[in-house]
Symmetry: D2
């Protein structure tokens, strides 16, 4: 399979290198607004540098990886599927749910596979937990808890363009909650505060937040977010069910432990998302390749992207109004 | 110090035996509607059996432990403090907040110490965590999480008289959240479902619930409750702060672990609340004796009892109406 | 049952208080070279102070607890069983194996129960491990590992009178190894160094030591000792078998953990043997009472005491000569 | 740097693929007695297939990786360094210490770098522990413990040619003990049994073994080996020092844990040495490349290989004779 990559930033570079490292795929072309970023990745992978529309129009390319800024995603997806390419797009499809709906309609018409980059589903730990949950090991699902805390807050400039914590950060947790609940939330209530960085509050956003959600059958999900965690990138899930509790935890930097009069001290947990989810990005690419070759349906789908965005929108509204928000059908 | 005990049920018996085991205190008299319960405890401790009003009126008794059914608490507290006794009363003071307010006014007039039995504050693990939190070890408090899951649901008959999960079970977690937050919640939102036992739902209560709360300065508390936990009595707290995260966990039945091809298996956690909190009950009694002898102010106070009840009332209302509920001043 | 206690030092006091706390036993009399120690314990338990031979000769006493210095144990055991008493004696019976043999012959003649105070067998964790080992959960036993490290070294004066590390400290681990191996070691090799306190080395003893042993069927035991552990009283066992590995670990002071940029820090492990083995001492006494009343055979027996002493003697000789030492039959 | 690889079996393949995955190195040629193994690796890496002596004689090759059977190592090392190549050789250099000495003399004369493949030194966990040990975090070293248990025994045919457990398996632990002790053992005592597979015993070898060693200053090392561990590939180290204890543990397959009435069950530990030490093999290659380019001295050296072999020889003799064996200077 021959890939074109749009966007050679931090996450695009990861995907590009992962394509290059596979025996069954080739990175053919890279586009980026920064010629330096595109060239550097092209050199490391044997790809050529090209313009985005040239890549989309290149008949020798089978699949497009979209890792550009969010506001370009929907247009690029539409262009790429219309040109007959399979598409992998980083989350979110768009910050506007209606724009996502129109984009997905175009994708549906094209008949081409679209997969959305909710990487955490592919973390080997979370994926194993979900598989065991589906096998019934914990019985009926009752409470899904997701804890997600970043090591430190992003710059305020980024925050202003991000759509806010619920759309930018918690959207991963909404997807994870849906992934685990196996049932759509019908109600969302959100609380948020700016405790980490006052400037985030002044920009109208929050950096510390909690959400509760409920499904039609009464399953409950709890999400806890902070833009700061001194001890690393905190990524935990726990599912309480009728037969037991399944959880998956953080990965410490090493297994080394020191015991002294001050106690037993283990390492902080892995701090950087590209390290923490390195295996997830590889597994995600493998799943996309399987989807392109028809071995499996693409998943997470564009609809998953829309559903997570609707929850993020609802949480944003709930935090603003102080009221719970009902979720309509997609 | 000479103690009278009102109520020789499961929890009264614990307190009575703990008094008897101390060198500086004596259990003098025991009252219970069941003569058998009173006699059995009296025999084990060298106390005499007496009627409740006789015990309250006995000039040779310094302090009263109230472990009777909830609907008798407020009357007995008033009678005992009016008779000049120090009083320890199991939670809650009453299911009605206004009744609690009137009772506390009587206590205030009497000038006698009243301490409420929120035993978890005295658990050595939770107490150590709170002390370290106060010392600033985790920095500014941002998110308090309390997980509390009972091994199994109570009989539906009990549930009907209990005031509901938020007042009967989660009240402990409301107290723990207040204890750790060090600031009053001003808003409560609650979700609940009957997932464990349909009969609990038919009785108008829930058995699975989640609450989020916020304080005036923006601190967030999350509580997770279930009436079922196959793996034992699940009691965990975690406080996320600006400098770090402090948490205290469950106690496994033993430290034994088996490793086989199926993995590494540790014991379930302690299953029974009287075992899990045995040390807490002893420390609680010691604190009450210190309060009686003027070495320390009584804590948790009657006001703590009222505050927790107000949160439980608010959560009950929130779950019923689907709206967040604001907390007025006490 | 009515008990007499000989020796009201640190360990005697524990046993005396444990007797007094039971409903089915009474501490009647206490003897100690220090009148202050005897009086203090007598006052706390309602016992009287008496001379050792008066206690042994008291027809109203059923059982004797011997907690005096080691060099008096054998004589007191012989006197007590000859006077028709059941006897519990702290380890070791004597530092000389032949003296132990003569003492056990007298015990055998008397027909009275003798139980030796190897308290660790009664630790709930180690006892549970041993029970599961016997049930076959780990399959055939292949390697038994015992790690035992004291928080700090004893005074050199004590070391000089102690019989040396192998007889004074490691004897507990020899007993634990025998308890778990369920087969007698036939060969012992020991290495030791004075790394903690040079004065211990100058006194002819070691403070850091390792032993390997082998049974006739080829099972292997490893023991690791140090007179110093900055992180608490380190007490661990691990049994590797054909079906799996069973281990039991330390008990931390609390379950509290702090996570910061320095990592995840748990408490030190319990530091003091009387705290670490508090539950074991209570269970040990219960087992002795069962043995006195004929509900169970006394265990550990005098022969267990002899066997452990023989291993300690062999290790002492091995460390001195640099040669492995074969163990003869008892 | 241009590499030639001798031996394209399991471990050779790993090294070959790791060379090919680097940007600063190229695998140029591969030799193997099996043309299929050589061709398969050559195809995967872009190398050519060639005879071992052609590779050694190829002026365009800078460094040789020796992954052939043990009995060819010393000859190939000598040939390669004499041809001016830097050499990385899998352990052991030879099963005969004198042959190793002659080989190392040739290497010394050549002036070319030789590095021996004790991969565990490069495990990120063990490497971090060693670094912290050297920084003094645990104080003076007192006891080094190494536990190493394979998931299952090798075929008896392999055992017969292997030199025995101490030379084939425990040699890694001897190297790890030396690495951590930072002082040479002067005495070795070994015990072994055939408990896992009787056929191993009939072949004159053991499958379960324990070793104790002592250095001149009195530091103690303990090693525990089994050819069977039902729960995975058990690889643990622990260093007890004057200031504290440093340990590094196993890596579980995932971080997922299930809690039920049967307890809390985590995954088995990683089972396969190529997976467990994947990061170590990459770091080992990076260290060899640094040694080739003069950025660092080669380590572990040929002398490290000799020293570990001498300890393995001594342990083999000790287990055979039942006597401790003194270690002479190298």
């Amino acid at each position: 399979m021959r890939f074109g990559l749009l966007g050679a930033g931090r996450i695009g570079r990861i995907h590009g290198l992962n394509v290059a490292a596979r025996g069954d795929a080739r990175l053919v072309a890279v586009a980026d607004a920064s010629n330096e970023a595109a060239s550097s990745l092209a050199q490391a992978t044997g790809a050529k540098v090209a313009a985005a529309d040239a890549i989309i129009g290149d008949a020798g390319i089978d699949a497009i990886l979209i890792c550009t800024p969010t506001d370009t995603h929907a247009d690029l997806i539409e262009a790429a599927v219309s040109a007959g390419k399979a598409v992998f797009c980083e989350k979110p499809v768009d910050l506007d749910s209606d724009r996502i709906r129109r984009c997905l309609a175009t994708v549906a018409t094209s008949g081409k596979p679209l997969m959305i980059g909710f990487n955490r589903r592919f973390d080997p730990n979370f994926a194993a937990l979900e598989k065991r949950l589906r096998s019934g090991e914990a019985g009926e699902i009752e409470i899904v808890s997701v804890i997600s805390r970043d090591p430190g807050p992003p710059p305020v400039d980024y925050v202003k363009r991000s759509g806010g914590l619920f759309r930018d950060m918690m959207i991963h947790d909404f997807d994870m909650a849906r992934f685990l609940l196996a049932e759509e939330p019908v109600e969302v209530f959100a609380l948020g505060s700016a405790l980490v960085d006052k400037a985030i509050g002044e920009a109208g956003d929050v950096d510390t937040a909690a959400v509760v959600m409920k499904t039609a059958s009464g399953r409950i999900a709890q999400i806890s977010n902070s833009r700061r965690a001194t001890y690393g990138y905190d990524q935990r899930i726990e599912v309480h069910g009728s037969k037991g509790m399944l959880r998956a935890g953080n990965i410490h930097e090493t297994t080394v432990e020191i015991a002294t009069g001050q106690g037993f001290r283990a390492d902080p947990v892995q701090n950087f998302f590209l390290e923490r989810y390195a295996a997830a990005y590889r597994a995600e690419l493998a799943a996309f390749i399987d989807a392109c070759s028809g071995k499996a349906a693409p998943s997470p789908t564009g609809l998953d992207g829309l559903r997570a965005q609707m929850l993020a929108d609802a949480a944003t509204e709930s935090a603003r109004t102080g009221r719970p928000v009902a979720i309509r059908s997609a």
